[in-house]
Symmetry: C2
C-alpha cells in the first residue's frame, strides 16, 4: 500500500507516537520488514519536543526510554527547567518518578512536557501502562497540566503537514485510533479515515465525539479509494 | 496534651492516614516516644478498607507497603475482584503497577480502593510521591474513579466516631491538614481546629473552600481552649 501511494506521486508522512526508539531505529525496523521509508518521512513526538524546547529555551530533565535519549543529543540538559516524559517503560521506577517530581515541585512554575497521553498498550507479554498514566500522576502531585506533543496534539499534525508542504485540506490521515489519529487530524483541518484493523474496536463507530470521514476495512482499501479519486 | 485530654475524662481517637505500617507498629512507635496510646485509639485507612471489603464480599489484590500487609491477614485474597492501593513506596515498581493495572482492566467493572489521596509527603531524604499520584495513574488508565477510604472520606470520620461512641456534634477534630483533617471532619458534621504547625501553611487561612472553626498555634493551645470550655 505504501508503495502504491508513492508510485502515484502522492506525498506520504508516517505519524507515530513511538517514544521507545529514535526515528532512526524505528525506520531501520520498518525497512527490515521491507517498507521503503526514510527518516524524513516520519513525524514522531521526540523531534516535536526538541523543536518546542529550543523555541522556548527549555532545558529538560528526561524521563524517557533509554533508546530515545539520542533524539535529545543536541539539547542542553544542564540545570533543568522542565521535565520531558515519554514511555520510559523499565525506567518508570519509584526513584526516577520521585526525582522527576522533586524537580517539578521545586520549580516556580512547573513545566511538564509529555510525549503522548496514551493510557496503555499491548506487548507480547501483556498490557502495559502508557505514558499518559504517569503524566496524570505527576500532574496531580504538582497541580500542573502537562503539554502533550504527540498525537492528538494539533501542533503534531501541523508539523507533519509542514514536512509534507501541503495545507490540511489537501491531506488525509489514515489511522486505527479514533481519538489520537482521526480526532487529532480532523481538529487540524484534515480529513481522516479509520481502518478497521489494529486498535479499532466496533464501539469506535459509535464514538460520542469523533466521526471519521469514512471507515475502511484496512490500509489497502483506504489506498484503493484515495487512488480512485485522483 | 494527650495526657491532659485523657485526664479530663474526654474520649480520644487518633485519625491517621498512615499506610506504611500496621496500627500495632504505629502505636509501638508512639509509645516509644512516650505517648500513652492503645491500638483501639487509632483509626487508620487499612482497617476501614477491611471493613468495606468484608461488607461487600471483595477479595483484594494488594499494592501496599510490605509492613501494612498484616492488617489484611483475615481477608480472603484469592482470585481478586478489586485492587487496594496504599502508599506502597518501594513496592511502586513498574512491574507491580502493570500487574495492578492488568487486574483492574480485566474486570467487568474495575473496583479500585485507595487508602488515601495524598499528593506527596516529606521524608528525611526528600519529597516522595504519595498514594494519590498512583491512584490517578490507575484511574486514568482504567477510566475508573477510586473509592478513597482514608481522610478526608466521610466514612473514615464516621468510623472514628463509631469507635468513640459519640455523635459528630459532640466531637472536635484537631489537625494540621486543611482539607484532609479540617474539611473532612466538618463534612461529617464535626467542628474542627487547624493547628499552625506541621503541614500548616499561611495560605491555608485563605483556603477557597474550607474554613476551620478556629485556628490555634499548636496542639497544647487547642487543648487549653477545649478544657476551658468544659
Amino acid at each position: 500500500s505504501l508503495h502504491r501511494i508513492k508510485a502515484s506521486g502522492l506525498k506520504l508522512q508516517l505519524c507515530t507516537n513511538e517514544t521507545q526508539a529514535t526515528r532512526e531505529n524505528f525506520v531501520r525496523k520498518l525497512r527490515a520488514m521491507g517498507f521503503d521509508i526514510s527518516v524524513a518521512e516520519v513525524t514522531a513526538p521526540a523531534p516535536a519536543a526538541c523543536h518546542l524546547l529550543k523555541e522556548r529555551g527549555l532545558r529538560p530533565h528526561l524521563l524517557v526510554h533509554d533508546d530515545l535519549v539520542p533524539e535529545f543529543a543536541e539539547i542542553n540538559k544542564t540545570n533543568p527547567n522542565c521535565v520531558v516524559l515519554g514511555d520510559a517503560a523499565e525506567n518508570f521506577t519509584y526513584a526516577n518518578l520521585n526525582e522527576a517530581f522533586r524537580l517539578l515541585i521545586g520549580m516556580e512554575k512547573p513545566v511538564l512536557i509529555s510525549l503522548g497521553k496514551g493510557r496503555y498498550y499491548k506487548e507480547t507479554d501483556g498490557l502495559k501502562l502508557d505514558v499518559g498514566a504517569y503524566m496524570k500522576a505527576l500532574e496531580y502531585a504538582c497541580d500542573v497540566q502537562a503539554e502533550v506533543v504527540g498525537k492528538p496534539a494539533k501542533r503534531f499534525f501541523e508539523s507533519a503537514l509542514a514536512e509534507l508542504g501541503v495545507p490540511p485540506e489537501q491531506a488525509i490521515m489514515i489511522g486505527d485510533d479514533i481519538v489520537s489519529d482521526v480526532g487529532g487530524a480532523q481538529q487540524c483541518g484534515m480529513r481522516a479515515l479509520q481502518v478497521r484493523t489494529g486498535k479499532f474496536r466496533p464501539a469506535d463507530e459509535n464514538h460520542p465525539v469523533v466521526k471519521p470521514d469514512a471507515y475502511v476495512n484496512n490500509l489497502a482499501e483506504a489506498v484503493d479509494i484515495i487512488l480512485q479519486q485522483l
